[in-house]
Each structure stands twice: as structure tokens, then as C-alpha cells.
Amino acid sequence: MTQRFVVLEDIDFVYQTGENEGMLALKGTNLDIPRGDFAAIVGPSGCGKSTILKLVSGLLKPQRGKIDVAGRQVTGPVKIVGMAFQNPTLLPWLSAIDNVLVPLKIVQPYRSQFKARRAEYEERARALFKTVGLAGFEEKSPWQLSGGMQQRASLCRALIHEPELLLLDEPFGALDAFTREDLWATLQELWIIRRPTVILVTHDLREAAYLADRIFVMSARPGCIIATHDACFARPRTLEMTFSDQFVALYHALRNEISEARVEAMA
């Protein structure tokens, strides 16, 4: 029996904009992700995909409903989480490697050992750099790296403290198609080695079907889950696989559901 790792029960979330009225982003959202699973969330833009990640990480609190991560209710920022955003959000005054070391300066138990074990941690960061193809760029400043390289560094930063839960908010959204496909492979490789639970929010349906075991489709705002698909392709997956009939069928199914959700929202 696999453990339920991330559980959202009947979540409502409202963004407070004015004095009285707010914007309802999520309504009655349920989500259930087992430990070690690679989940993807897709949906029309503005449907509350990113909001789900912020709720799971504890950056936002829902007005109604309950969120559990690793069997504990989320009340504030969750420390077993690594997060990567659409913008690489590297701190411009730190070198690439110092950026990647930031979580170790914040999260316990690394934090109190940071000074004593700095060399060891740097070695760990260098190993990660090598895995994502950034070896030799450790001492560069963020602005000296291309967009794809910055995103790789951001991925390293999300993984350095070996989080059990990895939250990815359209991490490859701003990259060109070739770089994106390279990074899919890198991410898959990292996931196969470490097997964290992953929630990937994306608007790229090929990306979702290539990377995830399970794909959740959301309705337009206020968002809730309207369909769940299992993507049972053998791993490691290849780009060639994305042209197979089975993959294309899944892609079409996802696409139709989201189109319908958009049409409904406009009607």
C-alpha cells in the first residue's frame, strides 16, 4: 500500500484584492498524490495551478479545507519542500554555487552545521552541477548564465537539501523548445536517482505527459480537478516515445478536456 503523501481535501482559496470582495481561485479542489509519484497539473491559464503549489508549500493558507503533506497538516512553510519557479529567481549578488547553497544555510539540520561542513556541502553542490550539465559555471554570477543555465541552477537549488517533495511551477516555461527538452531528460534522470515526490505545474501538455506518472486536469477559474490520467510509459522515457500512438492519444485527450474547460468558462 503506497502512502498518501500530498492530500488536498475540499480546498477553497480566495485572493483578497479589495476591501470586501476577493477573487475565488480554487473551489472544492481535491488532490491525492502517493509518495514517490511524479504528478503534473495542467489546465487553462489562470485556473489556480500555481496557487495549489503555494498552498502545498505553506506559502498561502486556504480559507476552507485541509492540506496534509507527509501525514501532517500544513500550517506554515513546509521544510521538506524544494521549489523551483518559472523565473529562475537566483539572487544576483551571489555566485551560482552560493545560490545553490542557500537552502543549506536556512534548513535544519544543515543550517547549524553549515560552517563546519561547508567544504562537504560545496562538493555536493558541484556534483549536482555536473549532473545538470553546469560543471565549470559554479563561480559565475547569475547574469553571466543563459536562461536555460539559470533554470538548471534553480533546479539544483531546489534539490540540494534532498527534499522529499519537489514543487515545480512552470520551471521550463520561458525556455526555447530544445533547451526545454534537454531539461526534461535531466529532470527525469534526477527523479529516477532520488525518487522525490514531484508536483509539476505546466501549460505544456507534452511536458506533462513526458514527465509525469499521473496528470491532473483543472477547470477554468475557480479551479478544481476535472479529470485524472495515468501516463504509464516505461522509464526512462525518450523523446522518440512522444511520437508513439499511445502518447499522442493521451496528448489529444488532455487537449480536448482543457479546450472544453475554456469554452465553458467563456460561455
Binding site: G76, P77, M83, V107, L167
Partner: protein
């Protein structure tokens, strides 16, 4: 390339030298009287011949300015952090700060003299008070404009407010702080000299007041030259420090010094 950069470095000196030459030439051409506008050459000769008498005044002004400046920067940074990290404090304090800053500092000096007597203390306090505002405004702006995405990187890791302030807010505001230091150091001279002209028996401001009452105009101008020189020197020092500390924020080499 090397010639170009050498020329660029020499250019400010050449402009200053050129200004003196034009000044000298025009004064001689139109026979301007010494007590109206002295010749640059006269002013420099005063600087050289009366150097021993001028030096203590210059050191006094430099000391009061720097002490006031340091105090002002520390106070300004602390107030700026308080204002910049809380919307409530920002809204509550800002009108008061603007009000304080709108008061001409020369009007405050007599009050300081009543409280602290004449001399060094009011000069230090005047330059301190005049420094605070630009530092507060810049530090607060730096903190208030920190991208929430950068803060989220730390917040998602469960970082405390203090962690976020030290890890993101303060490094992010450093370019703003250094920009304000360059303004503040020149303002600090204004503050200390105002105070010296009103109530002191030492310092460049005091010396200039006495010299002008003796209609010793070259000596008055010598005082101005000393102030201008000290201003440039300290400005350059902070510009250099800025470049060393916050080079990451200045990538366009056309603008970096």
C-alpha cells in the same frame, strides 16, 4: 582602447583645469577687482602660503562632517529598515519624516546651540540630521521594492523574517544604500558648514565668515576650494566602495566609475 580609457580618466581633471584657465583669463581681460572675484592663481597662492593656518580648520570640518555622516548613516539605515520592512510603519512614519526634512537646517542650528552650546556638537548634529533623510528613503525603497519571488525562495524553505531580511532584503538594498551615501556625504558638508557659520570658533565655515567680514575674499574662496576638494575626495571614496561592494548591480560599464 587603452588610450581611450586613459583619456576618459584624465577628462574630469582637464575640465577642472580648463575652468580655472577660462576664469583666470576672463578676470584678467575685464580687470575684475580682487574683492569681487579673485583670480584662481591668487586663491591657490593663499592656500599654499597660509596652509598652516588653514589646516586645523579643514581638519575640524572634516571631523565633524565624517562623525555626523557616520551617525546619520547608522540612524538612517535603521529607520530605513524599520520603514521598508513594514507597510504600517511606512505609512505611519513617512509624513513625519518629510515634515522634518522640509525644515531648513539653518533654522535648526540656533535651537541646537541653545541645547548643546556652540562648536563641535551642533555641527555634528546638523550634518547627522541632514544625512538621515536620503539614507532612509533609499534603504526603505530598496526593501519595499524587493521582488516577492526572491523572498518566496527563502520563505518556502521555512526561513524566519530575520533570515529573509538578512538573506534577501538587505543585500538587495545595498545598491540603494550606496547611492544614498554619495548624496549624504556631500549633504553632510552642507550641514556642518552651516552650523560652523552660525555658531563656532573653528572650522572652514567659521573661517570663511571671519574672512568675509575682513573682506579677505581670496581667503573666502580658499575655504570654498577646500570644501569642494574634500567633497570630491569623499564622494570618490564612496563611489569606489560602491563599485567594490555592489558590482553585481552595475553591469553596464558605460555608467560604472
Amino acid at each position: 582602447m587603452i588610450r581611450g580609457s586613459l583619456l576618459r580618466r584624465a577628462l574630469p581633471c582637464l575640465v577642472i583645469l580648463g575652468m580655472f584657465l577660462v576664469w583666470e583669463a576672463l578676470c584678467r581681460l575685464f580687470g575684475v577687482k580682487e574683492f569681487v572675484l579673485p583670480l584662481p592663481s591668487q586663491i591657490f597662492s593663499v592656500l599654499v602660503t597660509r596652509w598652516d593656518a588653514l589646516l586645523p580648520h579643514a581638519m575640524q570640518t572634516l571631523m565633524t562632517t565624517v562623525v555626523g555622516f557616520i551617525g546619520g548613516v547608522i540612524a538612517g539605515t535603521l529607520i530605513g529598515i524599520a520603514i521598508g520592512s513594514s507597510r504600517l510603519v511606512y505609512d505611519a512614519m513617512y509624513p513625519l519624516l518629510v515634515g522634518f526634512y522640509s525644515i531648513p537646517k539653518v533654522a535648526v542650528v540656533p535651537i541646537l546651540v541653545i541645547w548643546f552650546g556652540s562648536g563641535t556638537v551642533p555641527a555634528v548634529i546638523t550634518s547627522l540630521v541632514i544625512c538621515i533623510f536620503p539614507v532612509v528613503v533609499n534603504v526603505a525603497t530598496g526593501l519595499a521594492t524587493t521582488e516577492p519571488e526572491l523572498e518566496d525562495v527563502l520563505r518556502a524553505l521555512g526561513a524566519s523574517k530575520a533570515d529573509i531580511l538578512w538573506g534577501v532584503g538587505i543585500p538587495r538594498s545595498m545598491p540603494y544604500l550606496f547611492a544614498s551615501l554619495k548624496i549624504a556625504i556631500t549633504l553632510a558638508f552642507v550641514g556642518s558648514v552651516i552650523s560652523e557659520t552660525v555658531a563656532a570658533n573653528r572650522g572652514v565655515g567659521n573661517m570663511m565668515i571671519i574672512a568675509s567680514s575682513n573682506i579677505d575674499v581670496p581667503l573666502v574662496f580658499a575655504g570654498l576650494f577646500i570644501l569642494a576638494f574634500m567633497g570630491i575626495a569623499l564622494y570618490a571614496l564612496f563611489a569606489l566602495l560602491e563599485q567594490r561592494m555592489t558590482g553585481w548591480a552595475m553591469r553596464k560599464n558605460e555608467f560604472s566609475m
